[in-house]
Symmetry: C2
Subunit: 350 residues, 2 copies
DNA sequence: CTGAAAGCGCTAACAT
DNA sequence: ATGTTAGCGCTTTCAG
């Protein structure tokens, strides 16, 4: 039987009301310091902890946030995003109730779980996904809701996604700075929320810096797996042996590209420069040389989401909705150098 | 203002007691079916959801599990383990309160957060870590506790960790089957909970199958990063050019080993066979050929942990403590073949 | 400055 | 078969 406020009050020789006031920090100036001290001592001695259920029942709300994840768990950075969210919540004295659904969970399941969270008296809900997927959301939800790495058509809901265009422009900038002008674009075919802006950045930069835009420089891998990246890179190198650099849609494709280069005896970055996207350190740090890439701001997004949600919850007036974008960090490793000056790159090994 | 049981009862023209009985499924045979039907209709019409706080206050417990993670979030498989735990909890009608601390969080923080979870009336707590770390745990905790991918000296607490020895033996078995007898062991130097049993498995198998055990076959990388794996593999190949296969402590080291092989023109698996450990698909699926390896049973461990914890919670009598080990799955890809029959492996490229 | 008392929404024991 | 009632532990008026 856990000790209750009543136990504390009795031991301190005061009423539960006084004990409540003091222990919740609202007793300042209302309870005599001598009594306050006795109450604190009693609580300490008894190992008093309080009962959240009783408190939220009484207050009709709880410092609790729901985290409804749509398939995030399967992604390797899931922990970083969730962990950052949880820590930030903790910093604001909130806790996190975590629910994991499949990425393609039917709307009805989402709704059901949103309502489950509401049973828990959560004061807000974060719906998290990945690749800033476009989500359909159930219409009815009482608690404020925020989308993490996802968007929806309803512009009245807060959301945060990576700024793909700006980040891609950042990595491409390293190629510009190194002086490349014949740059390949090794992409995935999805045309999804990530591929479109990254491709747009490539084309804009190509145009703005007078890069070669003749055919054959944009190649599309069957999927964004390394093995398809390998195949696509091989095609690119066959068609356009004159490329001096290749930007890859993501690190996995870049890894495939490395392998294609190794196989042809092309040395990175001496013979060809490569950049990626995602900063999957398992890959980007492991490759030799390390891959220059941009990170996806998972931690930042997780943290922003919680901060913003709590801000909305605690704000008296209605806040204008906000669609936030966050730019990942450029991570410079060793895969970019100036293009070779001699026109014919050497094609033999060693 | 959310609708309460009282609202439902009024609309159905019954008492709250009857409504409670019916909606919690305990009304079977105690409430007239006609009334039960009316209650369900009323609840439906009003969108009644119930209030967990009120229920757990009254019942003095909640179908809630605490998940206290010690640094798991930074690992790439974090999501898989947490997600599996959450889904399993859901299957048992439990929810998960998630707290993330640093891997090396001081005992006091752990204790503080354990107590925080208890304030929430959790009926059990999972303390999750990684690499089956040995943990120190605070002495006092009321709710049942279980260690996930971690152990402690107190053998009275349930725990689940991967069976490293058995899993390593599984991958090594593929080398035995392929007929290798000069097999290198590329390990990390930690001597930790993972390295020791894997090394033991290597030595036992080597002894039992008459493998070459002369010096130079065991090499230790500075860290378990791919770049150190590359360096260590290079050393191994220099010292023992006669190896026909190398088992790597993990996939990252194996990735480095691949690169060292590529650089020397050794073809996998024709010239040399390689196996890893972990099944980090980002690596193991991406390498060419795919890496034969064993998976760490993250999902299974997460799921087992929840199932076991709930079993303990709901069991009337005291269950004997259990230290579970789970063997990962062998994942056969293309990196193992029979050793070359000619004594001198060809050392030229292409 | 402090205590008494009401009541948050629900369940369970007890009446009827 | 159903209703009445008494709290679970806490916060918050409201008196004093």
């Amino acid at each position: 039987m856990a000790t209750t406020l009543k136990d504390v009050a009795r031991r301190a020789g005061v009423s539960v009301a006084s004990a409540s006031l003091v222990l919740s920090g609202k007793g300042e100036g209302r309870i005599a310091e001598s009594n306050a001290e006795r109450i604190r001592e009693a609580a300490e001695a008894l190992g008093y902890r309080g009962n959240r259920a009783a408190r939220s029942l009484r207050q009709r709300s709880a410092p609790l946030l729901g985290m409804l994840s749509l398939g995030v768990a399967t992604e390797p950075y899931a922990g970083a995003m969730l962990g950052a969210a949880q820590r930030t919540a903790r910093d604001h004295d909130h806790d996190l109730l975590y629910i994991e659904l499949e990425a393609e969970a039917p709307l009805q399941d989402v709704e059901e779980n949103l309502r489950l969270l509401e049973e828990h008296q959560v004061s807000g809900v974060i719906v998290a996904s990945y690749n800033h997927r476009r989500l359909r959301l159930p219409a009815l939800h009482t608690a404020p809701l925020l989308l993490l790495d996802a968007t929806t058509t309803d512009l009245s809901v807060d959301s945060v996604v990576p700024d793909e265009y700006a980040a891609e422009a950042k990595v491409l900038g390293t190629l510009v700075d190194a002086g490349h002008r014949v740059v390949g674009w090794l992409c995935e075919p999805s045309g999804g929320e990530a591929a479109l802006p990254r491709t747009a950045a490539y084309r804009d930069i190509a145009r703005d810096h007078g890069w070669d835009t003749s055919p054959g420089l944009e190649v599309y891998a069957a999927t964004s797996d390394a093995s398809d990246g390998y195949a696509a890179m091989a095609r690119l190198l066959d068609t356009r042996p004159d490329v001096t650099a290749v930007a890859c849609f993501n690190d996995r494709l870049a890894m495939g590209a490395y392998l294609a280069c190794f196989e042809r005896g092309l040395r990175i970055p001496d013979d060809i420069s490569l950049v990626g996207y995602d900063d999957q350190t398992l890959i980007s740090e492991a490759l030799r040389p390390g891959l220059t890439t941009v990170s996806l701001p998972h931690r930042e997004m997780g943290s922003w989401a919680v901060t913003r949600l709590i801000e909305r919850i605690e704000s008296a007036e209605a806040l204008a909705p906000r669609q936030e974008t966050i730019i990942g960090d450029l991570v410079v490793r060793g895969s970019v150098a100036a293009p070779r000056t001699n026109s014919r790159r050497r094609r033999t090994r060693r």
